[in-house]
């Protein structure tokens, strides 16, 4: 999105740091801008060796669309899980599902796993060592293949387009 330069190796991180600093101080006086700016430049330079390769956001608009979709799905999934918990007969069909990943990069796999945990009645449990299978526990699932297809269509494909395509 923003090309990295020598003094700003991680521009998005720097922006986030400045924003968080201003939010924490709860002030936009010039002094806070300067202090936050200095921190936003120094911290990425110092912390650079700890970071893996930065993901590049190829389609920012799609990212916004994805975030909105996930926020909506979080509310829906919560109502669904609440209904299941409150159901006195406790009719659940739990299952372990092995999800075949097509994403390659660590960052996008992390985002996918977090999304899976937050949204459709599923919790990501374990990423196999080969990085190709994600073990998912689902609370109530009828057709396992349908669940896999839904996750692939709804979450993995957009992530693929945003981060990797």
């Amino acid at each position: 999105m923003i090309p990295p330069t020598r003094w700003l190796p991680m521009p998005v991180l720097s922006l986030l740091l400045l924003l968080v600093w201003l939010l924490l101080q709860h002030s936009i006086s010039p002094g806070q801008w300067i202090l936050g700016g200095v921190l936003a430049i120094v911290i990425p330079l110092v912390a650079r060796p700890f970071w893996e390769r930065q993901p590049t956001i190829k389609r920012p608009l799609k990212l916004i669309h994805y975030v909105l979709r996930v926020l909506k799905d979080i509310v829906v999934a919560n109502l669904q899980v609440s209904r299941l918990i409150l159901d006195p007969r406790g009719r659940m069909r739990p299952a372990f599902v092995e999800y075949p990943l097509t994403l390659k990069e660590n960052f996008s796999i992390t985002v996918l796993a977090s999304t899976i945990t937050m949204t459709p009645g599923t919790v990501s449990a374990h990423l196999r060592l080969d990085g190709k299978t994600l073990l998912i526990h689902a609370l109530d699932v009828g057709d396992i293949q349908a669940l896999i297809d839904e996750i692939h269509e709804r979450y993995e494909r957009p992530l693929m387009e945003i981060f990797e395509s």
Binding site: H26, A77, V81, S82, P94, F96, S114, H137, L139, I144
Partner: protein, 130 residues
């Protein structure tokens, strides 16, 4: 007029947050096995706390001008909750906790003949003890 509508919104978010958190904890207490219990706190409680924080944000913005600090905790909670529930599920698999008998699928991680250290990376080389 606008104030009373906003007050209604605040009351709604507070009560909805409390209800979600309570249902999540109810699930934590009532469900049958660990993997099912994990669903309540990881989703429902997070949204409940998020709702409460949004309510508090609107309340203080209404009283003392715009305040958006609470958004920080909300974002933090939504980013960290999936990570900690993933780690918890991983350690439960490592301890081979028995899932409910109705659970379909028998992941290789839960079968008994697996050697130790398979969930993490293999131990590398000789450990350099002093």
């Amino acid at each position: 007029m606008l104030d009373s509508i906003l007050e209604g919104v605040i009351a709604l978010t507070l009560i909805a947050g409390g209800a979600f958190a309570f249902i999540g904890s109810l699930g934590l207490t009532h469900l049958k096995d660990f993997y099912m219990r994990l669903h309540g706190p990881s989703k429902t409680t997070t949204l409940g706390v998020g709702c409460t924080l949004i309510g508090s944000l609107i309340y203080f913005s209404l009283r003392e001008g715009p305040v958006i600090q609470e958004l920080l905790i909300t974002v933090f909670a939504f980013i960290t909750a999936p990570v900690s529930s993933h780690m918890l599920a991983k350690s439960a698999l490592h301890h081979k906790l028995k899932p409910d008998p109705r659970t379909r699928g028998n992941p290789i991680e839960l079968q008994s003949e697996r050697p130790k250290h398979t969930l993490e990376e293999e131990p590398q080389g000789d450990s350099p003890l002093p």
